[in-house]
């Protein structure tokens, strides 16, 4: 089954919407839907890959209802650094379980603000393939809901510093690709989707290029060889930060 058909099945399933309101899922920005009889085999792996790609963040999760897999899931998740908290506590994402009224091919899909995101990175593509090949049809659905980032901390502008001097401020709302000369070399900054990142650099190790993209006030990327700093301007909430 392809992704869109999969999601359509889920979203139009008559058993799904009443369950949704019962589960009282809060306003969340994105959701991962997983159909599999053995969620403990796939959910931690998928979440790990999404986290590495910067598509999700945080480490605390809560179960909104229980399943036969709770203990196994908690064990495997905690090995990967995710901590289970009781539902009343603040958490970064919630996990709930339900049943479809028919068995379908196992699969997973990531939906953000109503749009299906393509998350078939190489690592996830091989996982998908292995699910299709080795798992039989399933009616067990695991929904992981991710909380939206607290808007108070989202940055508005990102500043570019060279040799300790601010040379430019970019608005995170505008998509831009800009090249800067630095220390006899070159650095390319990209602003897209309210995030800033370094996409190319003349430095030898390219740590700046591998650094996670910036979106929160105070976050920064440094290119030490080029004496270059990219920093999201702090909101008026703080003058500086430690830690």
């Amino acid at each position: 089954m392809d992704r869109r058909h999969f999601c359509k099945t889920i979203l139009l399933s008559p058993i799904f919407s009443p369950l949704l309101s019962q589960l009282k899922i809060k306003n969340s920005a994105s959701r991962l839907y997983l159909i599999s009889d053995t969620p403990q085999d796939f959910l931690p792996l998928i979440l790990g890959i999404l986290k590495n790609k910067g598509m999700i963040s945080g480490h605390r999760f809560a179960f909104l209802n229980s399943s036969p897999f709770d203990e196994k899931l908690i064990n495997i998740m905690s090995q990967k650094g995710w901590i289970a908290v009781p539902p009343a506590y603040p958490s970064d994402f919630t996990v709930s379980f339900s049943h479809l009224n028919q068995k379908v091919a196992p699969s997973f899909s990531f939906v953000k603000e109503g749009r299906i995101l393509d998350v078939r990175f190489k690592s996830l593509a091989s996982l998908w393939l292995s699910m299709q090949q080795h798992q039989g049809p399933s009616s067990f659905l695991t929904i992981t809901s991710f909380q939206e980032r607290r808007p108070a901390l989202l940055g508005r502008f990102v500043s570019v510093y060279r040799d300790g001097r601010k040379i430019e401020t970019l608005d995170l709302k505008n998509k831009v690709l800009k090249s800067y000369s630095a220390q006899g070399g070159r650095l390319v900054v990209q602003v897209e989707d309210r995030k800033a990142s370094v996409v190319d650099s003349s430095c030898p190790q390219k740590i700046c290029c591998f650094s996670p993209s910036l979106s929160l006030a105070g976050e920064r990327i440094i290119c030490a060889p080029n004496h270059f700093l990219l920093e999201v301007e702090r909101t008026s909430a703080v003058d500086t930060a430690i830690g």
Partner: protein, 310 residues
């Protein structure tokens, strides 16, 4: 008549001089020292800022050249000065803060970033070289036992910040902050004419744990997320327990606030290791701490400073 015109002339000269005085405004600069990004922001004239920045960089450079890992100049007055401060804190914290943990940094791979888990035997051998009581001071120099190594990482930045603040304060800078990658001194009022709002980075999530409101004071944070490696699903960080030889357990982040950056720096390390914060803070009554334990629970200790949890 002559007296009147003399007074008038003096007044005129005074007004002319006043209007010619260079205008003060906020300046900031960032530079890289101690393997981290350092930032200064001060209220002064443009020419003052240039000399201030140079002075701060000169001081940080000097600290780096005396206290970087592997350097063994034990006779300089700067080193002896910091040694005495370190010894006092070592005694007051029952050994939770200890600059002789160099061998531990080495065997866990933190010196050259070739991280690995050492054997119990290697740890036991390293522990035999640890303890500031093993250092002798004689005729203006320190004498270490063979194979002992000093690691000033838990105190040198704070020392540098105090020196830098003293230099700027004596030049006449009345408002500003110096932030060396997590160790900070702020003084006077912030650009909005209020107390300085200093965010403490959350030990796990992007964004802040909470916001401190500070006047003229220092603050330093030690965390298990600043330098670490992961192996077998476990995190091994750079803050060693000098008694066990392993990374200290039980905390994610410790922030100490108080009058001197050098003490905040060392105490944030000591409180990370120590089980009972009140035992240490009882000996440093001007200092307070924000501690995040391994479960993520936040608690305040010692002298209360204004902290708003987010």
């Amino acid at each position: 008549m002559a007296k009147k015109s003399y007074i008038l002339l003096s007044l005129l000269l005074f007004l002319v001089l006043i209007s010619c005085a260079p205008k003060k405004r906020w300046h900031s600069a960032t530079f890289v020292y101690f393997d981290t990004v350092c930032e200064i922001k001060i209220f002064c004239s443009p020419s003052e800022f240039l000399s201030c920045q140079q002075e701060v960089e000169r001081i940080f450079s000097e600290i780096e050249s005396h206290f970087s890992p592997g350097l063994k100049n034990y006779s300089s007055s700067l080193v002896l000065n910091l040694y005495h401060k370190s010894l006092s804190i070592y005694k007051n914290t029952n050994g939770c803060f200890d600059i002789t943990i160099g061998p531990l940094s080495r065997i866990w791979g933190f010196l050259n970033k070739s991280y690995s888990i050492p054997s119990q035997n290697e740890i036991d051998q390293a522990l035999r070289l640890i303890g500031m009581d093993k250092i002798e001071e004689a005729t203006g120099t320190l004498i270490l036992k063979p194979n002992m190594e000093l690691d000033w990482g838990g105190i040198a930045k704070g020392f540098g910040i105090d020196l830098a603040y003293n230099a700027l304060e004596s030049i006449g800078i009345e408002r500003g902050f110096i932030n060396a990658g997590g160790d900070l001194f702020c003084w006077g009022k912030n650009p909005e004419n209020e107390t300085w709002k200093v965010g403490i980075n959350h030990p796990r999530d992007p964004g802040y744990l909470g916001i401190l409101s500070l006047s003229t004071i220092a603050a330093a944070t030690t965390g298990d997320y600043q330098r670490f490696f992961e192996a077998g699903g476990r995190r091994y960080h750079h803050v060693f327990n000098p008694k066990s030889g392993y990374p200290a357990q039980g905390k994610q982040s410790v922030t100490v606030i108080g009058p001197e950056a050098v003490i905040c720096d060392a105490l944030s390390t000591a409180l990370f290791v120590c089980q009972y914060p009140e035992e240490i803070l009882d000996r440093y009554i001007e200092y307070g701490a924000v501690i995040v334990d391994s479960e993520g629970n936040v608690s305040l200790w010692g002298k209360p400073y204004l902290f708003r949890l987010l």
